[in-house]
């Protein structure tokens, strides 16, 4: 190496060190969510206000399915993300596998104030959505299907149907169709659920794999009723399609915030996590998108008008009609076995 090269290299190194320390001075985190309209909405409602209030920089990244990336990043020993917004099950499973930091709730007062069912040692509920029974109002102008038993009743409600190609919420729906009460679902009777699913299987036209696909099926009239996420149905309805849904026997699901094990900006990440579930920020989310706040205190802030609240999945009266998904059960060995069984069920 010549003198000149050495000089150049040292300058580059010094520059790099200078950059990192400058960045440290202004605290920052990297926050990851699922992209699209949803991430846009939370940027306006939660991320920008939190960054401003805490005086930190929030770098954003997005990925439709964070789980494989969490596993590889933490596995490599050098994660680049700090906070992830991901289905709660990923946080729990990640926590058990040593991929997710255990939270100290004394530093997260906003989270500590939330109901216990809405948090875990590794995560805090961030927003709620619901797997609901949706239908075409053209096919069912009156006497619309209103329960999973109706969905299974192909004589009384003839028509083409779709379900999600995933056991989450589908097994719960099958059990409710078989007469299990929404609050008595867990631990799931997996055999009974699959037996009930076999009944409806010949009548399922499409097993959808993405939210966009479910919306398209309903919008194009490809199916007459399906299980779909409430936000997808209301988006289609807003664009003029004659479709509706019921929260009755919906399966209330959440994404949660969790922090990657060994996150580069751990302390700032914890501060942000607390701020992100602040009731007022949380109340701003449903003003931008059809998802419910993860913190129920948001409904007491007065920010969400009553008629708006009535449309949201986690509004207390709506939540009471639904089953709250137990991510703890799904990440248990029995839950994982049920997930694996799904693949063979689909291919039989």
């Amino acid at each position: 190496m010549t003198m000149k090269q050495k000089f150049g290299l040292s300058c580059a190194l010094l520059g790099a060190i200078g950059l990192t320390s400058a960045a440290d001075a202004a605290e920052q985190i990297t926050f990851v969510s699922q992209g699209g309209a949803y991430q846009q909405a939370q940027t306006v409602a939660i991320l920008d206000p939190s960054a401003k209030k805490l005086g930190i920089t929030i770098n954003q990244d997005s990925i439709p399915d964070a789980w494989p990336a969490i596993k590889t990043q933490v596995g490599s020993g050098k994660p680049i993300w700090d906070v992830v917004d991901t289905p709660t099950g990923n946080c729990l499973r990640g926590g058990e596998q040593g991929l997710i930091e255990k939270l100290d709730f004394s530093k997260i007062p906003n989270g500590a104030a939330m109901p216990e069912a809405y948090r875990s040692p590794y995560s805090v509920s961030y927003e709620f959505y619901s797997s609901v029974l949706s239908y075409s109002q053209k096919t069912f102008p009156k006497d619309a299907p209103n329960s999973w038993a109706d969905f299974w009743d192909v004589k009384k409600f003839p028509g083409r149907r779709a379900l999600r190609n995933h056991p989450f919420a589908t097994l719960e729906a099958a059990l409710m169709a078989d007469g299990v009460a929404p609050d008595k679902l867990y631990p799931l009777d997996v055999d009974r659920a699959f037996k009930k699913l076999e009944e409806i299987k010949p009548h399922i036209t499409v097993w959808w794999t993405s939210g966009a696909q479910s919306a398209q099926l309903l919008n194009d009239g490809e199916v007459d009723m399906e299980m779909a996420w409430n936000g997808r149905v209301s988006a289609v309805a807003k664009e003029g399609a004659k479709v509706a849904f019921t929260y009755n026997q919906g399966i209330l699901q959440s994404t949660s915030l969790c922090i990657l094990k060994g996150a580069p900006n751990l302390a700032t990440a914890v501060k942000f996590l607390n701020e992100a579930v602040d009731p007022v920020h949380q109340a701003n989310l449903p003003l931008n998108i059809d998802y419910g706040p993860g913190n129920p205190k948001a409904f007491e802030t007065g920010v969400i008008k009553p008629e708006r609240a009535a449309q949201l999945p986690s509004e207390p009266a709506n939540a009471a009609k639904q089953a709250l998904m137990s991510y703890a059960w799904w990440s248990s060995p029995a839950g994982e076995a049920a997930e694996k069984r799904w693949a063979s069920f689909m291919q039989k």
Partner: protein
């Protein structure tokens, strides 16, 4: 010589050999040496069902692409230069549209309220919409559309090299046009047929987006098993094992084909 090619070798090592090696390693090593992943691939029903379905679909797609592609290549070869450029560009044009867009386009054409069903109902040919998509049929149609250029181009390249004099010689000896085609042209075009079929078959084995979007969830091809093992079950080892078996089958096919024609030809080098 070695000094000249060594940078290229390094690139191949870094981009191909290492990742594939890592993949293979993951499939046999997880907290110790294990063949469990392979045992599952070879004994569990869902795996071999998927492999069987994937080979069936690939075979169907290859045959249909050959039946559709041969006349097109033949025509492009027979007409004057200007016309053949037009024909070939029509074949290649869809290349510039993303696979995803083309899959959705087929959805718009084939679904219950799609163009084809609406048209047939308008003509009163059918009273109930036909199930053209969300099944194996829809998957095959869209896959053929996407892979057709890989059939037409090698066929055209081979046909271009068949000397026209041979046809004339055949004709001057009194053979009818169909006889010269079957006795002279067709045998000479067989290397192109083999090349095109190999390309289409091998590419089809790894198809993912089309069966995912148009298969209705029941058409589970091997690539979908790989993604599902990672996304749903978080089993990188199992996913690697499936990928390795698929990779090995592709190599095996290439090896078998190379016994008949030079591989350069399949890959379009000559």
């Amino acid at each position: 010589m070695l000094a000249l090619v060594s940078p290229a070798l390094l690139v191949i090592l870094a981009l191909i050999v290492l990742p594939v090696g890592w993949l293979a390693w993951q499939s046999i090593y997880h907290d110790g040496f294990t063949l469990e992943n392979y045992r599952r691939v070879f004994t569990e029903e869902i795996y071999w069902r998927s492999f069987a379905l994937t080979f069936e679909i690939s075979l169907a797609v290859t045959l249909i692409a050959l039946l559709l592609g041969y006349p097109v290549a033949y025509l492009a070869n027979a007409v004057p230069k200007g016309w053949s450029i037009l024909i070939l560009s029509l074949v290649v044009l869809p290349f510039w549209t993303s696979v995803l867009v083309r899959a959705y386009a087929w959805l718009a054409l084939l679904q219950r309220t799609g163009v084809i069903n609406q048209f047939l109902r308008y003509l009163d040919v059918i009273s109930e919409p036909l199930a053209l998509v969300h099944n194996t049929f829809g998957t095959v149609v869209a896959t053929v559309h996407i892979l057709l250029p890989f059939m037409v181009l090698p066929l055209y390249a081979t046909m271009q090299k068949i000397p026209g004099d041979l046809m004339q010689a055949g004709a001057s000896l009194g053979a009818s046009p169909s006889l010269t085609f079957f006795r002279v042209f067709l045998p000479l075009s067989l290397p192109g047929v083999l090349a095109g079929c190999t390309m289409v078959f091998v590419l089809c084995l790894g198809f993912y987006i089309t069966p995912e979007l148009l298969g209705g969830g029941r058409t589970v091809m091997v690539s979908m098993l790989v993604s599902r093992n990672v996304e749903l079950y978080n089993q990188f080892g199992a996913a690697s094992a499936v990928a390795v078996v698929l990779f090995a089958s592709v190599l095996l096919i290439f090896f078998a084909v190379s016994r008949f024609i030079s591989l350069d030809r399949v890959l379009g080098q000559k």
